[in-house]
Structures are given as structure tokens and as C-alpha cells.
């Protein structure tokens, strides 16, 4: 079939072009890759943070710490006040002994710090782990609790989440700027790469035109070239982002930081389909747009520019 034969002929020509201009191919694939890599990383980071934020939204947690001098009776009053609050979903009381045990656990291997005379649970405090029914009540509930007699401190992690929310917004804004800038750069460089092969084949194109080759046939190799650059970049970017993500996830698991408890990264497989699809679409779009731009001046004209 003529069409199929023409297709393979075009494909062959475009691959020849790419091999011949391998340095420019490398340059534009590198820029496309950089663009996709940065975009992919930003999106995954933003997504992970959103995950944390929604985790908080689903399980708004507050820790209330009482003064250590507080009598057991007064501590129970605080407990009752918490339990009777409509906004509370669940509450658990940690006695002084509980917290002492927890502390010992935390400082395992450093037991000598508990070696002074009156080191016992009385130095510690009663605390409550509370889960609220909704995150929206968090701020008010914390404020109310701070007013209750005997309450030393209310930790709702809200400031941490505010911090994450700020980062998330920043990344989202940054992503849009990055998308525009990187997209523009990618197209610009790919246009240049393809234009280089167009110029190199100018004579051939003119001969093709005189011989009556169809416009589609003349454009074909350059469009195929753009698409190849786009797809190649998409695949490389996908594996690079995957590698980075898994590496970061592993790092997070190893650290003893608070982050480990707050940030629970989803397995990469949850992102992989969406990511590769987006990369391929972006690569195709950039390749097509770039090749159209690159050949517009050279093939779309009826006139002989050389005269």
C-alpha cells in the first residue's frame, strides 16, 4: 500500500535527520527533559503535600498538655470538659506514668538522664490525644481549650500545616510559571533543531517540490522528527522522575525526623499512569508545534526564495 510505504519512508528520513544532527537532538531532548523533569517533580511534590493536607483534613488531631503541678482531680475535670465538647470525636488520656514510660522509651540508651533522685513520673504531666470531628473546628477548639484551667499547652500542628499550605500554594504558582517558561524554551529549542535539518535539506526540498512531492510528504519527516524528540524526552523524563521519587521516599523512611510521621508518600505506581500520559501528550504537543513552526517558512511557500 502506497500510504504505508510512504510512512516508513518518512520515518526513515526523519531518523536519518536526527542521527545526522545528533548534537542538536541531544540539546533539545535535554531541554525538553529538564522541563518535564522539573514539572513532574513540582507536581509530585505538590501532590504529596496536598496528600498531607487532606490527611489532616480527614483526621484533625490536637494534643493538650496540662500543667505538671495539676492535681489528678483537676486533670480529670479537664478530661470531662474535653469529652463533653461536641467538636470532639475521640479523646485519650495519657497519665503521668504513661508519659514517663513514653519518655523512657524515647530516650532509650540514655537512661542515665533519669538517674537523679526524685526522677519519677510526678515530674511529668497529664496529656490528651484528641481527634476532632472536622478540621474547620480546629482553630476555635484550640483557642477554647487554652482558656480551660490547668491547660498548659495546646498543640494542633496547625502552624505546620499552614506552612505546608503555603509551600503548596507556592509550588502551584511556580508550576504555572515553570510550565510557561519551560514550555516556551522547549518549543524554541526544538524549533531550532528541526529548522537546522530543514535548512540542511533545503535543496532536497526544492527538488522534491519540483518533482511534485505532496506537501504532506515533504513535511512528514520533520513532523516525525519533532514527535520523536518529544516522545524520547517523555520516556527519559518519566524514568528520571520515578528514580528520584523512589530515592526521596527511601530517604524519608530512613530519617528519624518528624517529617517521617507527617509525610507519608504514596507509592509511585499511583502516579505512574498519569505521569507518563502527561509526558507523552506534552512531548507530542511540543514536537508537533515545534515542527510546524520550523517548516512553515520553508515548505508552505509557493515561491522560490533563492531568486
Amino acid at each position: 500500500m502506497n500510504k504505508l510505504r510512504a510512512f516508513f519512508y518518512i520515518l526513515k528520513l526523519s531518523l536519518e535527520n536526527l542521527v545526522k544532527n545528533w548534537h542538536m537532538l541531544l540539546a533539545s531532548v535535554f531541554v525538553l527533559f529538564t522541563g518535564m523533569y522539573i514539572m513532574g517533580s513540582l507536581v509530585l511534590t505538590s501532590n504529596s503535600i496536598s496528600g498531607i493536607l487532606s490527611e489532616q483534613a480527614e483526621h484533625p488531631e490536637v494534643e493538650i498538655i496540662c500543667r505538671s503541678a495539676l492535681s489528678d482531680d483537676d486533670a480529670l475535670k479537664v478530661y470531662r470538659a474535653i469529652l463533653s465538647d461536641e467538636r470532639v470525636s475521640r479523646a485519650h488520656m495519657n497519665t503521668k506514668a504513661d508519659n514517663f514510660a513514653k519518655m523512657k522509651e524515647t530516650f532509650k540508651g540514655y537512661e542515665d538522664i533519669f538517674q537523679y533522685e526524685d526522677a519519677d513520673s510526678n515530674l511529668l504531666y497529664v496529656s490528651f490525644d484528641i481527634t476532632l470531628k472536622s478540621a474547620s473546628a480546629l482553630e476555635n477548639f484550640s483557642a477554647d481549650m487554652r482558656k480551660v484551667y490547668g491547660v498548659e499547652e495546646v498543640q494542633d500542628n496547625d502552624s505546620i500545616y499552614k506552612y505546608f499550605r503555603a509551600i503548596s500554594n507556592f509550588i502551584r504558582m511556580g508550576s504555572i510559571v515553570a510550565l510557561v517558561v519551560l514550555g516556551f524554551l522547549s518549543i524554541l529549542l526544538t524549533v531550532n533543531t528541526i529548522r537546522l535539518t530543514v535548512v540542511a535539506r533545503k535543496k532536497e526540498l526544492r527538488i522534491m517540490r519540483d518533482l511534485g512531492a505532496s506537501y504532506a510528504f515533504m513535511r512528514g519527516p520533520f513532523i516525525a522528527e519533532g514527535v520523536t524528540i518529544g516522545l524520547l524526552s517523555a520516556v527519559i523524563s518519566f524514568f528520571a522522575v520515578r528514580g528520584t521519587y523512589n530515592y526521596v521516599a527511601k530517604l524519608m523512611q530512613r530519617t528519624d525526623s518528624v517529617l517521617r510521621d507527617i509525610i507519608k508518600l504514596k507509592p509511585f505506581s499511583e502516579y505512574s499512569h498519569g505521569l507518563i500520559l502527561s509526558f507523552i501528550l506534552a512531548g507530542l504537543a511540543i514536537g508537533l508545534i515545534a515542527s510546524m513552526f520550523a517548516i512553515r517558512k520553508y515548505i508552505n511557500t509557493e515561491r522560490d526564495d533563492d531568486k
Binding site: K3, A6, A213
Partner: protein, 283 residues
């Protein structure tokens, strides 16, 4: 193909220019109110000083340029009616060679000729057959695997000719085909052009080479500042006179209004197999 009852004066017209002018964007009038007729079986020289408009006439024929005014018909088709998207298909009916040969350096002789068929998606088998036949006709069978840089000018021009005819065009146009060749090679090219013409292809040769053109005894169209100057011809050819005497032509009704305006036209309903090429019908 000629039917016996068809007289010489009923020869098919291949190319018709009617009051054609071409003014380029810079204001230069390259073709000025030019009318001419070239028959299907003709071999015509196009002569005139540098800048007379020979190359422009060729560009108009290839629809690389459109006339500013007037009408052009090729093979019974009004060129102004050919859509932009169909121009390339139209060009396949025309083979063209230039002074500078325009061969691809990185392809062999065979590859250069095959290229003309590859770009149309022809099959390997078809390509091999036709390319070999074409090369053999041009006496290049032994050079098939050479690269253009290893060939003489005459041989390179023969490769260009082989490429121009490999798709069996109806018209072969040569713009200064012997401009870069010595007399012996030029003569050989002329001989091959005659050979191509004898196989049924209309041949048009733009040239400065007066002597050679005269020697060939073919019709010579003189261009002077973009218009016909028949005074330049010494005696003129027979066909030249026939043209002025109101020759007849068969033209398809699709050619319509334009054809009706050509007063010497005779609608004898003489449709031949060659008039049936439609806009979509490639080859």
C-alpha cells in the same frame, strides 16, 4: 496515438497562453501580454536575451508563479483553477531539468532517479523497473552506482533527464539544459531531448544557444522583454505560421469560458484520452 483521420491542423494543444502578463512584486514586468500555443507533439525552443522572461514562463507553467493577468491552460486544464493543495499533483505531469542539474550529492545515480518515484510512494519493484529503463534510455546503465561528483557535466545532466522522465511526464521543460556543457555534451543532450519528444512528450527548451537551436530545425519562440518577437526569427518555422493562421484545438468543456474566448477555437467535441485528467486524478 494519432488517429488517421485527424489532420495536422487538428493536433492537440498541450500548452496555451492567452494574453498572459506577469508583474513581480518589485514591479518588474517579466511577461507582457503573451499569447502562445504549443502542441502535444512539439519540441519548442524558447529564446531571448537574459531577462526576457524565459524562466518566468517556465515558473508560470509549473504554477510556481501565477500570472498577474491572462490565462494559461496546460493539458486542457485552466491553471488558475488548480487548488493549492493540488498543485503538487499537477507538477507530476511536468518533468523539469535545470542548468545546475540539481542532483542530490549523497545519493547514487540510481538513488537520484529513484527519488522521484520514492516521494510518490511507488513500490520497490516498480521503481527498479522504471529507473533502469530510464537510465538505459539515457545511456547511463553502467553509471547507476556512481555518485554525481564522479560524473561529467553531460552525464549529470543525463541523470537529471532520467529523473525528469522516470514518472512519464506529459511535458518536459529544460531551462538552459546545456548552459554548463561543452558543445559535444550539449549536442548529446539535444539528441536525448529529441528522443524523449519522439516518445510522445512535449519538450520545451529555454536556451541562449542560437546556433544549436537553429540547427535543430524546430520551432523557436522568441521572447523580448516578456513578449513574442517573431521578427527575430529568420523565416520562422512551419508550426509558427500554423499558429497565426488560426489552428484548431480540442479542449475539454471543463476549460469553459476561457476556451470560448479563444476565438479560433473549434468545438468539434474531440475528446481524447489525454483530456480526462481531473483535479483529483493523479497518475
Amino acid at each position: 496515438m494519432e488517429q488517421p483521420q485527424r489532420a495536422v491542423d487538428r493536433r492537440q494543444t498541450m500548452i496555451l497562453f492567452k494574453d498572459v502578463s506577469k508583474v513581480y512584486g518589485n514591479g518588474v514586468t517579466a511577461i507582457n501580454n503573451l499569447s502562445l500555443r504549443i502542441y502535444k507533439d512539439e519540441f519548442v525552443f524558447l529564446m531571448g536575451a537574459s531577462g526576457a522572461g524565459k524562466s518566468t514562463l517556465i515558473k508560470l507553467l509549473m504554477k510556481e508563479e501565477d500570472p498577474t493577468s491572462g490565462k494559461i491552460s496546460v493539458n486542457s486544464r485552466d491553471l488558475s483553477m488548480i487548488r493549492r493543495g493540488a498543485v503538487q499533483r499537477y507538477r507530476r505531469q511536468i518533468g523539469v531539468v535545470f542548468q545546475d542539474f540539481r542532483l542530490l550529492e549523497h545519493k547514487t545515480v540510481f538513488g537520484n532517479v529513484a527519488f522521484a518515484m520514492e516521494i510518490m510512494g511507488k513500490s520497490r519493484k516498480d521503481i527498479n523497473e522504471k529507473v533502469e529503463a530510464s537510465l538505459s534510455l539515457m545511456g547511463l546503465s553502467k553509471k547507476a552506482d556512481e555518485y554525481p561528483r564522479n560524473l561529467s557535466g553531460g552525464e549529470q545532466q543525463r541523470v537529471a533527464l532520467a529523473r525528469a522522465i522516470v514518472n512519464s511526464p506529459r511535458i518536459l521543460i529544460a531551462d538552459e539544459p546545456t548552459g554548463n556543457l561543452d558543445p559535444a555534451n550539449a549536442e548529446q543532450i539535444m539528441y536525448l531531448l529529441e528522443l524523449i519528444n519522439s516518445q510522445g512528450t512535449t519538450v520545451i527548451v529555454a536556451t541562449h544557444a542560437q546556433e544549436m537551436a537553429r540547427k535543430m530545425g524546430r520551432r523557436i519562440l522568441y521572447l523580448d522583454h516578456g513578449t513574442r518577437n517573431d521578427n527575430m526569427s529568420s523565416g520562422g518555422g512551419g508550426a509558427e505560421e500554423a499558429m497565426a493562421a488560426g489552428d484548431r484545438v480540442n479542449i475539454s468543456s471543463a476549460f469553459g469560458e476561457f476556451a470560448a474566448n479563444v476565438q479560433e477555437e473549434e468545438y468539434s467535441g474531440l475528446f481524447t484520452e489525454d483530456n480526462s485528467v481531473s483535479d483529483e486524478g493523479g497518475k
